[in-house]
């Protein structure tokens, strides 16, 4: 529920109207009902367990899961804020060599699936890996008992890996907030005797805080739904606990109950995010921001700025991509079989379709909410976006049951009425996968477009209406051209995320069907990094081009292009 300021301001000043049905509201209701189905299915399972193991869980492992989850979230939040905000501030307000390259290169780790980065660093940093081997050679150590080395498979390791792959969300949002700030504000602070650091701390940072919170909320939702990294690093979070109870032990009720605990976390995040945004009153949007005057760094500060920007790119992208490339070259014959090109094609097609559909639905919802100004509708739209924080495999199960029920109902009806069996219409088709992607990532589309539309003044709509345009025409002729940038941003983010999506794809896919992610997984799940390198690298490559596009879109510094989640 991360959208951006102006829409709310409008809603408040114009008052909240009572809900009246019309095609837009009815459509929005229908969409939210369908999209909320998977989450509702999971909730339903939690409250009607067949064997209630809640007391047992609560007495044994659950407190530990909650604690580990909190520690992980706190660590990742701190890490992503530290890296994301400082890098964003440096590239927008300072001048130093390579700044223009850093500006887009800082986003690259977004294309890296976190679980792949986890494998890569385990390979590099474990006992048998090159780093420890080198240390042993230099110091003459032999066994583990001879020296201490940090254990990569740990909570700390998980925090580092997730920070390095997720900080771009905070970076992107904060950077666009800094770009939006009229440089006059910063300059005024400087003339009042503030050092650049004080101007940052006392003016720029507080003004950017809502965007930072939005970014961190995104990061934390991704942290909550991650399974691959925490499982690999043996960190006992709510997600790993839920998987074991639900899918290994086949206790649906218990698994769903842990899922509910996770949803409580999410709702808390969303509320916190809302609260942070309500204080956006001091956001100055009255004038078009001028290009900021950049502060030139010299000497030690220049070196420090270079380090701050280079290290995250190095750890989050260059090193993993480099290792994957060397493996891909060495093992291309193992990985490059006839299934590979088909998998790449499937991935790109599905991701592109899902991005297009999600953006269209997100736009419809955001516009309907704008038209109706109904609080009920807005809250429903946000509820529909909860799918973003649900682990993929759980979401997939939440899809299997309603789809199965629908297919079987249609089949029974057709058998009864016409004597024809229609079989499964939706289950086990790519429609199910597309649905999963849309449910999962609609939050990105809705939030971004709600924010984009929020920055279009309602006078524009009114003007269009005086020209006898209906709501649909007003949307197409007036709003769309203005929020094109937001649509691009949303579409690209969703595309990149879909390329990486694994658990839902795995469980919902048709027979003999692979995407790059499932293709990589069959090797990666055996911890055979070499064999999966080529596929992983292709996911990254397919993600990079859109990521670079994204930064270019956002770099144009148009105030309508802020990224957000519902």
């Amino acid at each position: 529920m991360i959208g951006i300021q102006a829409s709310e301001a409008n809603a408040r000043t114009r008052g909240t109207r009572r809900f009246r049905p019309d095609p837009w509201a009815a459509g929005a209701l229908l969409i939210t009902a369908i999209v909320a189905l998977p989450v509702l299915t999971v909730l339903g399972a939690a409250f009607f367990p067949t064997e209630n193991i809640w007391p047992h869980l609560w007495e044994t492992v659950l407190p530990g899961y909650i604690l580990a989850t909190l520690e992980l979230m706190a660590g990742v939040a701190a890490g992503t804020i530290l890296i994301g905000v400082s890098a964003a501030w440096l590239v927008t307000t300072c001048d130093f060599p390579g700044r223009r390259i850093f500006e887009w290169a800082l986003v690259l780790p977004l294309a890296m699936p976190a679980y792949v980065v986890a494998y890569v660093y385990t390979d590099i940093l474990e006992f048998a890996g090159p780093v420890q081997a080198l240390l042993r050679d230099i110091f003459g150590w032999r066994t583990v008992q001879d020296y201490w080395f940090p254990e990569i498979r740990s909570l700390g390791g998980a925090i580092v890996v997730m920070t390095m792959t997720l900080y771009p969300y905070v970076y992107l949002l904060t950077r666009s907030a800094f770009l939006e700030q009229s440089s006059g504000v910063g300059e005024a602070a400087r003339t009042l005797g503030c050092s650049p650091w004080a101007a940052f701390r006392r003016v720029s940072l507080p003004m950017a805080r809502p965007s930072i919170v939005v970014g961190v909320a995104l990061v934390l939702m991704e942290t909550l739904n991650d399974f691959g990294t925490v499982d690999f690093f043996a960190v006992q979070t709510l997600t790993t606990g839920m998987f074991n109870v639900w899918l290994v032990m086949n206790n649906t009720g218990g698994g769903a109950q842990i899922a509910v605990v996770m949803l409580v976390f999410v709702i808390f995040l969303l509320v916190a995010e809302r609260a942070a945004r309500r204080k956006r009153g001091y956001h100055d949007t009255s004038t078009r921001p001028r290009l900021p005057v950049r502060f030139e760094l010299r000497g030690g500060r220049k070196a420090l700025a270079l380090l701050v920007c280079a290290i995250p790119i190095l750890i989050g992208f260059v090193i993993p991509a480099g290792l994957l490339t060397s493996y891909a070259i060495e093992f291309y014959d193992v990985s490059l079989n006839n299934r590979f090109p088909q998998a790449a094609f499937n991935s790109i097609l599905l991701a592109a379709l899902a991005a297009a559909i999600a953006v269209m639905i997100g736009l419809f919802l955001a516009y309907a909410v704008r038209l109706r100004k109904s609080t009920l509708l807005r809250n429903l739209a946000r509820f529909a976006s909860l799918g973003y924080a649900v682990p993929g495999a759980v979401l997939a199960i939440g899809i299997l049951f309603p789809f199965g029920a629908f297919d079987n109902a249609v089949d029974s009806f057709m058998r009864g009425a016409f004597g024809i069996s229609t079989g499964l219409i939706l289950s086990g088709t790519i429609i199910a996968i597309l649905f999963a992607y849309v449910v999962r990532f609609l939050a990105l589309a809705y939030g971004t477009l709600e924010a984009g539309l929020g920055r279009v003044t309602p006078h524009m709509d009114d003007a269009a209406r005086t020209l006898k345009h209906g709501p649909a025409q007003a949307l197409i002729k007036v709003n769309l051209p203005i929020i094109r940038g937001s649509m691009m941003t949303a579409g690209i983010l969703i595309f990149v995320d879909c390329m990486k999506e694994l658990p839902a794809t795995l469980l919902l896919r048709p027979f003999n069907f692979d995407t790059l992610a499932t293709y990589v997984y069959q090797f990666a799940s055996d911890e055979l990094l070499e064999e999966c390198a080529l596929g992983a690298l292709t996911i990254v490559a397919a993600g990079i081009i859109p990521v670079i596009l994204l930064t270019r879109v956002m770099g144009r510094n148009r105030p309508d292009q802020e990224l957000s989640v519902v």
Binding site: V61, A128, V248, I430, Q522
Partner: protein, 343 residues
């Protein structure tokens, strides 16, 4: 132009969107087992019979999919490892009984359901790996000894709630009861060298690294490590022990196959089941995966043969499946996954 784009998308998507239902020469499989492991068998089957084999592989949740799809599920057969999962599917009412003389002749009674709900295809032994350097032969010969205080800080295993460990603990419960099993697992936990992590192979690697002296792992990982250049040194650092449980023998689990309740391609599915228990397919299984053939008349791979014969723990597989829930509770109660130091 817009419509042309839509038409193009529809053309690409439509063929992908159709579900495979019953048709003359195919059989549909939901497999918990990796594609690479079962593919050679399916290829041999298709070559012999002309029946096409379609597969969905996923490691988690396929039971739910079968359940959700109900009467119209296209799946004919389910492939899985672990007796507990086989009985989950039976208990959920998603399987149908199959009985033929061929199947019953190849698969010994203890490795199939008495009503024909499932048939074992291969056997896997849960072994103890010991350091060649640091553990003398004969120093550990039973699972019970994993809890012996003399191995404090010397034992590595994967997570306690992994299906392989749960099955072993369930067998332990079957022999000794829950109270003793809890004590035993507490003892093993106290002996752990580190927090449980990684797969079975990672435990053997830890022996090579000197992190621990004793690890628990399935037998075929030894064969897999010997085949992989990078992993050969791991295998070389360890000896294999066929441990006993309650003085009986080594804990065994099955991989198996079952026919779904609503299988649309029943005849082909049966053909594949019989093929998989045939001498030919059992031979492929033995040599590709290095698992023990279910048919006692088929030889294991040369490597496995070289390890010699060993006694098996004869506890009924049903008992293992039945004790699974209790086993998971014990793992949680003991806090096994927290590692040796627990709060």
């Amino acid at each position: 132009m817009k419509y042309r784009l839509l038409a193009a998308i529809a053309l690409i998507v439509a063929p992908m969107a159709t579900t495979t239902a019953a048709s003359a020469a195919e059989v549909n499989i939901y497999s918990y087992r990796q594609d690479v492991l079962v593919r050679p068998l399916f290829d041999a089957f298709t070559k012999e019979t002309g029946v096409k084999v379609n597969v969905v592989f996923a490691r988690k949740g396929l039971i739910k999919r079968l359940q959700a799809e109900g009467r119209n599920s296209p799946a004919d057969l389910v492939f899985t490892v672990d007796i507990a999962r086989l009985s989950d599917i039976v208990n959920a009412g998603l399987s149908q009984p199959v009985k033929t003389a061929t199947l019953e002749k190849s698969v010994p009674a203890e490795y199939r359901d008495e009503n024909g709900m499932w048939y074992g295809l291969t056997l896997r032994a849960r072994m103890i790996y010991t350091s060649k350097e640091r553990v003398g032969k004969g120093q550990i010969t039973s699972y019970e000894q994993l809890a012996d205080p003399k191995w404090r800080g010397k034992v590595c295993t994967r997570k306690g709630d992994h299906a392989y460990n749960i099955a072993l603990l369930a067998a332990y419960i079957g022999h000794y009861g829950e109270a003793k099993a809890t004590d035993w697992l507490r003892g093993v936990k106290a002996n752990l060298a580190r927090k449980p992590q990684g797969n079975d192979r990672a435990q053997v690697k830890a022996i090579m690294e000197g992190v621990c002296d004793i690890a628990v792992g399935n037998h075929y990982y030894m064969a897999l490590m010997l085949k992989n250049d990078k992993q050969k040194p791991w295998a070389a650092s360890a000896n294999l022990v066929f441990p006993t449980l309650a003085g009986k023998g080594t804990h065994m689990n099955v991989s198996g196959v079952m026919m779904t309740k609503y299988a649309p391609n029943k005849a082909n599915a049966l053909k594949l089941m019989e093929f998989l228990t045939s001498k030919k397919a059992q031979g492929i299984y033995a040599n590709v995966n290095n698992e023990y053939p279910i048919d006692p008349n088929v030889k294991a791979s040369p490597l496995l043969e070289s390890w010699g014969k060993f006694p098996r723990d004869g506890i009924a597989l049903d008992t293992i499946a039945k004790n699974r829930a209790a086993a998971l509770k014990i793992v949680n109660t003991v806090g096994y996954n927290d590692g040796p130091v627990s709060n």
